[in-house]
């Protein structure tokens, strides 16, 4: 057991650090939940992609640099430590792409990934429906066979970035007779296609961070089915594990946030009232980093992400809220003034809800990891 980086990994990290130091925008970009911010983020993503830093773990042919999973984690640490912007295309890069690598055709990979890497196409995840939140298998929107493809009908909701995104991926019921997890098809759709209506929904901060999507006889070609028709649930589980697991919440985010919290605490005169919570935030971020190193080691030796990605999600969602609440308590009366800590706090509050609520994750951990008997849903 060791934590030593080999020469190649050290060099990789050094290169990333150097590039980021020279290129990360000096002042933060406007929020990507605004039209102006979205455009600025596309530019940043294109700059990242030009230097092959936007999707480091992908094969070179799709815009990556064939980096190992460990190198990806190191890159993320450097990325957040450098104060670089959030990833506007994270749903595509961290959820759709791994799904395509597992289930997509070579044609899909070649067509979709290079544009994703440059944020020429920004993706939205269209899973939740008004009547299907935690119980995603209760979804009602449909895909009906049509000449050379499918016609989509129905409504999705709470779709992050959909207000400005180009395309969306999600599950549709393709067999009207089927129930629950059967007869679902995983499809990709153009959000500018005829029949699509996107209605932005403002979030707690007032910005349209997510949106409803209405489908009215929207045509999608066969080439945009991922996996085989009717087999969508299995495909979706790949996406879900990635969402909860490693990819969406790399330890780099929390390490960087914990470091900022420690600096805040130091410059506030190291108040004893928050000392324990500041220490715990750092301990949590370090735990998550080491846990991730363990996961990376296991994945590198052929294991697959399973129910432990729910452990992951439970941990980081708690950590993120606690860390931000500590920062706000430290700031005292000025904590109510809008700024990076209040923005971070508002965002952290969504962690226990999206990607499967913490209640759902606890049930998964209890049943699949601990082997407790299945109960009522």
């Amino acid at each position: 057991m060791d934590l030593d980086l080999d020469e190649a990994a050290r060099q990789f990290r050094g290169e990333a650090r150097e590039w980021l130091a020279a290129h990360v925008p000096r002042s933060p970009l406007p929020s990507f939940d605004t039209a102006e911010g979205f455009a600025a983020h596309r530019e940043w993503e294109a700059a990242l992609a030009d230097a092959h830093w936007s999707v480091v773990s992908w094969p070179r042919e799709y815009g990556g640099r064939d980096a190992s999973l460990l190198e990806w984690v190191l890159f993320e640490e450097e990325y957040y430590a450098a104060g670089a912007p959030g990833r506007v295309n994270q749903n595509g890069i961290f959820m759709l792409a791994p799904t395509l690598f597992s289930h997509g055709t070579p044609e899909q990979l070649a067509r979709i990934l290079p544009k994703m890497a440059r944020a020429e196409e920004v993706w939205a995840q269209a899973w939740s429906e008004p009547e299907a939140g935690s119980d995603i298998a209760a979804l009602r929107s449909t895909a009906t066979p049509a000449d050379g493809g499918w016609l989509l009908n129905g409504q999705k909701t709470w779709s992050s970035r959909a207000a400005f995104a180009d395309r969306a991926f999600g599950l549709f019921r393709s067999d009207p007779e089927s129930a629950r997890h059967h007869g679902l098809t995983y499809l990709m759709a153009d959000l500018r296609a005829p029949g699509v209506t996107v209605r932005p929904i403002p979030q707690l901060d007032g910005e349209p961070g997510f949106a409803e999507i209405f489908f009215d006889d929207v045509f999608v070609p066969d080439a945009d089915v991922i996996g085989t028709p009717g087999n969508g649930w299995r495909v979706a589980m790949t996406t879900a594990n990635n969402e909860r697991g490693l990819s969406l919440r790399s330890p780099g985010r929390f390490l960087a946030a914990a470091d900022r919290l420690v600096s805040l605490w130091s410059s506030a005169g190291r108040p004893e009232s928050t000392a324990a919570r500041v220490a715990d935030a750092w301990i949590g971020a370090r735990a998550y980093q080491l846990y991730t190193f363990g996961t990376v080691t296991r994945l590198a030796s052929g294991a697959e992400l399973g129910p432990e990605s729910s452990v992951n999600k439970l941990f980081w969602s708690h950590l993120d809220v606690a860390l931000h609440e500590t920062a706000l308590d430290l700031l005292g009366p000025s904590a109510e003034l809008r700024g990076p800590w209040t923005d971070g706090w508002l965002f952290s509050l969504a962690g226990p809800i999206y990607g499967g609520t913490d209640q759902i994750q606890r049930t998964i951990v209890a049943e699949r990891l601990l082997g407790l008997p299945k109960g009522d849903r």
């Binding site: 846990y291 941990f315 606890r362």
Partner: protein, 318 residues
């Protein structure tokens, strides 16, 4: 980087686990508590035969610890102490294990062989000496110096199998080798026992929840119960990498982080175990209490959570 146990390490831990599962550790702990050390010492010797007492002793003193890149590492010691925590046998295991950090002397050979039991006082964070009455050798870390001590007033621990004594300082024996390292190792091995105890408590709780029935079904089918246990599993899962990471880096901030996280996770496991068991868990006959009181005692042994949180802060916020 390979942050995973090797197959040999997994096998070592598994072999200790199966050894202890054939011993009646709970009975030995109860006997120890009532002053009968016989069964506990038998287990002590069985474990020593497997090398557990020699893991931190250098090879030139008859131990197994790494010198020139071969032999047992701190990770191996941590694994052994996790198993000790899971079964909670009695005895001053930590004291014996840190001794090689304090002196380089012939006594180490008989300690490594399991023939000599050591009791240690290490004020201010380890003010009371464990099992000083039956220890064959007693050491007091007095700043940078090492002394002998005599067992003074006996003190009752809330864990009845931990017999504590006030140390009465004796002769000076010379400079202590590396007190800082000794303290870190003691804290680390205590963290390992806490994690092991927490895992043991979680396993007991899962087994109980899968079999105890109320309202016509197993209580483990109720989400309220499931969710409590999932929180415990999460806390333990994320404490373990801190423990193993600290064993690899030997960094004081990592050691303290591990002590805090393992203590918190074990405490959560203990409180949850009691809740999930209900009144049966509150009885003296049930083994749950042995672990619950051990967890509480170890939480403040070798540095309280507050002490370790401050050590973390001192390291990261200079």
């Amino acid at each position: 980087m390979k942050f995973a146990l090797s197959p040999e390490q997994e096998a070592f831990a598994a072999s200790l686990d199966s050894l202890l599962s054939t011993q009646d550790c709970d009975a030995a702990t109860r006997a120890w508590a009532s002053g009968d050390h016989g069964p506990g010492l038998k287990i002590w010797r069985r474990l020593a035969d497997q090398g557990v007492a020699a893991l931190t002793t250098p090879a030139h003193r008859g131990g197994l610890a790494e010198e020139d890149g071969t032999g047992a590492t701190t990770v191996d010691a941590v694994l052994a102490f996790e198993v000790l925590g899971r079964f909670c046998p009695p005895g001053p295991w930590t004291d014996s294990a840190v001794l090689p950090c304090l002196l380089d002397d012939e006594i180490l050979a008989s300690t490594a062989a399991g023939e000599t039991l050591v009791s240690l006082a290490f004020p201010p964070h380890v003010p009371f000496a464990l099992d000083a009455d039956i220890a064959d050798a007693r050491f007091l870390v007095d700043g940078a110096r090492l002394r002998g001590f005599a067992p003074g007033t006996p003190l009752a621990s809330l864990d009845p199998s931990r017999h504590l004594f006030e140390p009465v300082p004796g002769d000076e024996l010379g400079p202590a080798l590396d007190p800082a390292r000794a303290f870190d190792l003691g804290a680390l091995l205590t963290a390992a026992q806490l994690l092991g105890a927490g895992r043991g408590l979680l396993e007991m709780s899962v087994a109980h929840a899968g079999q105890r029935r109320q309202y016509g079904r197993e209580i483990g089918r109720f989400q309220a119960v499931k969710h409590l246990l999932a929180e415990v599993a999460t806390a333990l899962e994320l404490a373990r990498p801190l423990l193993h990471g600290a064993a690899v880096t030997a960094d004081p901030a990592d050691v303290s982080a591990a002590k805090v996280a393992c203590g918190d996770a074990a405490h959560l496991a203990a409180r949850t175990a009691l809740q999930v068991h209900g009144a049966i868990g509150y009885t003296a006959e049930h083994p749950l209490g042995l672990r619950l009181t051990r967890v509480r005692a170890l939480t403040t042994a070798w540095g309280t959570p507050a002490v370790h949180r401050h050590r973390v802060l001192a390291a990261i916020a200079p």
